[in-house]
Amino acid sequence: MLMHIPSLKSKTKKTSITTLEASPFLYMPLQAYKTPLKPLVNVGDLVLKNEKIAKSNGVFAGSLHSPVSGKIIAIETESEFPHIKIENDFLDTCIEINSTSVEHLTEEEILETIKNFGIEGSGGAKFPTHTKYNTQQKNISHFIINGAECEPYLSADYAVMQQETEALLKAIQLVQKVIKAEKITFGIEKQHKELQSHLLKNAKKLNISIQIKLLPNTYPQGGELQLIKAVTGKELPKGSIPAEHGITVSNVGTLWAIYEAFYNEQPYIERIITISGEKAINRGNFKVAIGTPVSHILEEIGLPWNTENQTVILGGPMMGKAIYQPETPINKGSGGVLILPNPTNKRYNCIQCGYCTDVCPQHLMPMEFARYNTEKNIQKLYEFNLNDCIECGACAYICPSDVPLMKSIVEGKNLLHNA
């Protein structure tokens, strides 16, 4: 049984995407999937908009581009939060990018561009997209587009699907050139049923054959494994690669970034996020540059930065992180900034109601993790398959006793990792 969470999206769902004023300082995050990025610039250098400022190599190669033109004023690689700090000169001088027309690109060129433009999964895991699409040996039968934005409050993907439909479909067309899937399915939640006809109408115009699968409004529907299960009926074990089963899943936000890369010659330097939450004054969907600090976003919507009477969350309310550093930036995987009231709930004793087991999408026993984490019993944590946990937070959400289950899961995973 998966659980239903109130979507809380109504306030932002229909707002049109507006561009947020650029920040005077940008903190370009150097973390990436598995391999950290190496800076290509030095302190004092002048960079142009769209210029590559950091990269990494290997299978999970990634790269980072400057979203503004300006001066590098600091590079921190050793700190807990490695970043490149750029001072914006507000001139937006772009770097020249010579490109061929989209229709004539070969498969390799498309993959190369995706890699060069630093496109990563925008759903949160930040998995490099070129690696995902690089599936020559495998036969992809099913291309699933993840339009299930199951986190409450967040509506950025919805806004893209509704307002940038053409861009989205063109990106699908382009990706299809590479992966050559037999079937394209759009997974959207039932609560967004109105999108179905809208998407189909536009797909017809562009002559793309897509199917729409309406998914139940449960959490976590947008998790890759849960989505695959809901669309195809196949239950893949955690850790298996969907491509091995002939499936590729892409997020709506990622596809939007791909469109920007090919049709506007713009690397992954901005993304669409939702700003919402009970304490936010100005809610809506915004286009912001990667690296924009959270404090700047708050300022723009007219809220002072403070952590005393509000909690700022980067990402969704279920899986996102509470932010206590004003310069924490938007990264390629964050779907929103939420401003919520401060937590005041207290922990009760566990009453063994078993709700956490009921709602766990991976069929695990979260209360056992809490227990064996206090005991530091690595053997038991392993036996109860803590590694299969996708950290969706459903157990912590449902727990009537407010046991900090996510905390023990994260700590337990660290224990397992170090063992």
């Binding site: 004793n349 227990r371 206090t374 005991e375």
Partner: protein, 205 residues
Amino acid sequence: MVEYFSLFVRSIFIDNMIFAYFLGMCSYLAVSKNVKTAVGLGAAVIFVLTVTVPVNYLLDNYLLKSGALSWLGPEYATIDLSFLSFIMFIAVVASMVQLVEMIVEKFAPALYGSLGIFLPLIAVNCAILGGSLFMQQKDFPNVGMAATYGLGSGIGWFLAILAIAAIREKITYSNVPAPLRGLGITFIITGLMAIGFMSFMGIKI
């Protein structure tokens, strides 16, 4: 057949060694910290009881009881050796325990290690001697009944230690008041469990 069944059920639930007579408490309290070792010790107790009760029954009936030696000849019919029954019973129990110890050490060294001193101490576990003495008192008509009784008592003891071990594992992280931690709370649990087992008191089968 019916009387075997009824004796079997009685000895497990109604005359439960732990909850009706509170016998064999020392190892019950000491080795019930986790289910695995509890199961090991419980199995050992089942084995020892199932073997010693019928063996002692034979000893009692053909050696010790007054008139038990009449099979040697009419002149022995008046001899009553029952004053020897404690020492004889204990000797049988001790030798059986030795046997179990050797078997466990050979085939389950991990269990042997975790049972520690309590395995040889089964020899002086009052539930074991108690089983034999109850057998003597109950005056069973044949050896089969005695074996049934031994098996039943053993299973009853096994169930008790299994249940308390599972409960103690569950409450490891309970916020028990400091003075009650450890044995104190175990005694309270045993008492409460005995209330649960009261449901069988008075059943007539």
